[in-house]
């Protein structure tokens, strides 16, 4: 993150008198604030102020349909969330467990695909890259609808393909992906794989940044392909992996669209799809319970903050930055 040191007006000002240096400086500062003013205003209006308001909301019993009946209830919302509402912990557990399943799979698949797409032995790289990225362009809702049918127990291709290997999969007694509490997460993971295009591209850029001399040296030393991958590639692209991990973790905590579109927030089957965001959505927008909704939002914020700080804490041990001092 290099920061601009010299600016035009200063260069011009340096030729002038001392008095003018000062005014130019001030003028520059004023223009600087002018240019960033959209963000400053937007940040105050849509981030800072709402965050404070959100904290105040947590102390109120406030239903949007009857705003006049809002009343201060102290920490009751917090008590309800932490000690009385069992759905909070269950949905949190579901969300975190799913994150531990989907995030590693998504990241590993994206990384391995990037390695494959970066192979010097691959012909038609550009075509392959475009085609592997293309599914990411399918609108999320559209790909969910397609996957629901691909996993259909009677007519879907997944079960048909599994039957080719001699396993009974089709029909009522077969693999009912969206009705089975154990299989549904796996189906969700597959849906998630249609959104990894960006991660692939970022990984690919990271791989292209690894100096080829390192691989040549390793080959001369007799290192195998796997050793090079583990000892050179992984450490060299670890900043990219770290970036994907942080954004992926925060994204996982907000997992919402897939379970919502498929089950409408009902939690079917057996409550397994009642992710934290679904619970938040129902409390806030179905029951118009602004006070309790804000409390739930603060919980997810605190968890995201702790997770991010924890990841940054561990990063020193495994993320390799060339030219550490510049950062």
């Amino acid at each position: 993150m290099s920061v601009v040191t010299e600016s035009t007006s200063q260069v011009i000002a340096a030729r002038g008198h001392n008095r003018r240096v000062l005014t130019n400086r001030q003028r520059e500062e004023r223009w600087g604030f002018f240019f960033i003013s959209p963000w400053l205003i937007g940040f105050a209006l849509f981030t800072l102020f709402p965050m404070i308001a959100s904290l105040i909301f947590t102390t109120y019993d406030f239903t949007l349909s009857v705003p006049d009946e809002a009343k201060f209830i102290g920490l009751d919302n917090w008590r309800r969330m932490l000690f009385e509402d069992e759905t909070v912990w269950r949905s949190l557990w579901i969300t975190i467990r799913y994150a531990f399943l989907s995030l590693p799979i998504g990241m590993i698949v994206a990384f391995l695909l990037a390695v494959l797409l970066n192979s010097k032995h691959l012909m038609g790289k550009a075509v392959f890259r475009t085609l592997f990225y293309a599914p990411t362009m399918i609108p999320g809702i559209a790909s969910i609808l397609i996957f629901v049918q691909v996993f259909n127990p009677y007519t879907g291709w997944v079960n048909r393909i599994i039957e080719v290997f001699g396993i009974k999969a089709m029909g009522v007694t077969g693999l009912r992906w969206f009705d089975d509490p154990n299989l549904i997460y796996l189906a969700f993971v597959f849906i998630g794989l249609y959104g990894i295009g960006n991660t692939i591209v970022i990984n690919l850029a990271g791989l292209q940044g690894v100096p080829t001399e390192l691989y040549e040296a390793a080959t001369i030393d007799g290192a195998s392909w796997f050793t090079s991958l583990y000892r050179i590639t992984l450490p060299m692209v670890s900043p990219v992996i770290f970036y994907n991990l942080v954004l992926g973790t925060i994204g996982s905590l907000q997992y919402f669209t897939v379970p919502f579109v498929i089950n409408g927030g009902s939690g079917y089957p057996d409550g397994t799809t009642e992710f934290f965001m679904i619970h938040f959505f129902k409390q806030t927008f179905r029951f118009s319970n602004m006070g309790y909704g804000a409390t739930l939002a603060w919980l997810i914020f605190v968890i995201a903050l702790v997770a991010t700080l924890a990841l940054f804490g561990t990063s020193r041990r495994w993320v390799y930055y060339a030219g550490e001092s510049n950062r």
Partner: protein, 360 residues
């Protein structure tokens, strides 16, 4: 390698090279084939969506239907249409039309030789494979297009996408220019705060923002989704700032000396040089708008006439769950525009992803 080649006789060297080249070609073929297999697996849902969208309702819901959209071929004999079957005869298998069904024997007619009259065949006709041909049900597309009211959804989404694209690109470019070129107090802290908002879960600001927008009467309108976009977006600011930093200062200095003010310099000198980055940001935003589901879901509930593609598609799925082929056709229709734009502008788009992902 030079030392090795002198110690070997010339012919051996050639054979060596040929062997090496052959190995390289083999590796290339293996890797490419492997990649092709993975790709086909990865694209299975896409093929499924395309093929299912071309089936008739019966084919799409029949577990035993062939994979491709097939239709049974019929032959018209004496004014009636009869299905064709592959019938094994003494002279080989022939495609015959089944005229009279029977449990133990059936009567067929040969389309190529109608004059020969009815052919009696012993056996159960149910065991015979029907003669089918690929016949895509193209009519699913106009039907889905009309039933989902695609023009209205497209219009809503396009207006939303283009208006906010203008808003976020111009605001983000301004902010990025400020951070890239000007010196002011708290600049570094402010920039870190800006980056911090990228990882801020949006829910924490959502509830009061929602309550506020509803209370000022913006519920059921697009305003809550459009207005905030005119105050820039952290991702876009970051991407554009990185790009502005790479633009040499000489031209700006020349413009300044010529008497151009900061605004004129920004509009006339910086923006024209940043077209690739601006395009990338515009595309990112467009795809975001095309995919935006949560905002319209909470602010436009009950306003069917205002809904965008995402919400329309989701409710279409609920209404027509018995007609999977129409849902697939609608899904394909919603994909055409973003995919086309992506194929046209993929280079600049991919570079944009790289800047946001790797430079941080």
């Amino acid at each position: 390698m030079a030392t090795i080649s002198t110690s070997f006789p010339r012919r051996t060297m050639d054979e060596h090279q040929i062997a090496r080249r052959r190995r390289r070609i083999l590796t290339t073929a293996a890797v490419t084939l492997f990649c092709l297999i993975i790709l086909s697996g990865y694209l299975v849902p896409v093929f499924y969506g395309l093929i299912s969208s071309l089936k008739t309702k019966d084919q799409a819901s029949d577990a035993n239907a062939p994979i491709m959209p097939m239709k049974e071929i019929t032959f018209t004999y004496e004014g009636e249409a009869y299905p064709l079957y592959e019938v094994p005869l003494e002279s080989g298998t022939k495609q015959l039309a089944l005229v009279k069904k029977g449990r133990a024997s059936s009567k067929f007619v040969d389309p190529q030789n109608v004059e020969a009259g009815l052919i009696d065949w012993q056996g159960n006709w149910r065991s015979l494979p029907a003669v089918r041909e690929v016949s895509p049900a193209w009519e699913n597309y106009p039907e889905a297009f009309n039933k989902i009211d695609f023009p209205r959804l497209l219009m809503n989404t396009l207006v939303y996408g283009l208006v906010t694209m203008f808003g976020t690109v111009s605001a983000s470019a301004m902010v990025a220019y400020g951070f890239a070129r000007y010196r002011f107090r708290f600049k570094n802290i402010l920039f870190i705060v800006l980056l911090g908002t990228i990882i801020l879960p949006p829910q924490v600001t959502l509830v009061p923002t929602y309550a506020f927008f509803i209370s000022i009467g913006w519920g059921g309108t697009w305003a809550p989704m459009i207005v905030p976009q005119f105050f820039s977006n952290a991702y876009n600011v970051f991407l554009l700032r990185q790009y502005f930093l790479t633009i040499p200062r000489e031209m700006e200095e020349a413009a300044m000396i010529d008497g151009a003010g900061p605004i004129k310099t920004f509009l006339r000198v910086i923006l024209p040089q940043a077209v690739p980055a601006l395009t990338a940001v515009a595309l990112f935003h467009f795809f975001f708008a095309w995919n935006d589901y949560f905002g319209p879901l909470i602010y436009l509930s009950g306003r069917r006439e205002l809904q965008p593609i995402t919400v329309g598609l989701a409710s279409f799925n609920g209404l027509y769950s018995a007609e999977p082929q129409l849902i697939m056709a609608a899904a394909v229709i919603s994909t055409i525009l973003p995919l086309t734009i992506f194929f046209i502008a993929q280079r600049v788009f991919m570079q944009g992803i790289v800047i946001t992902g790797v430079d941080k």
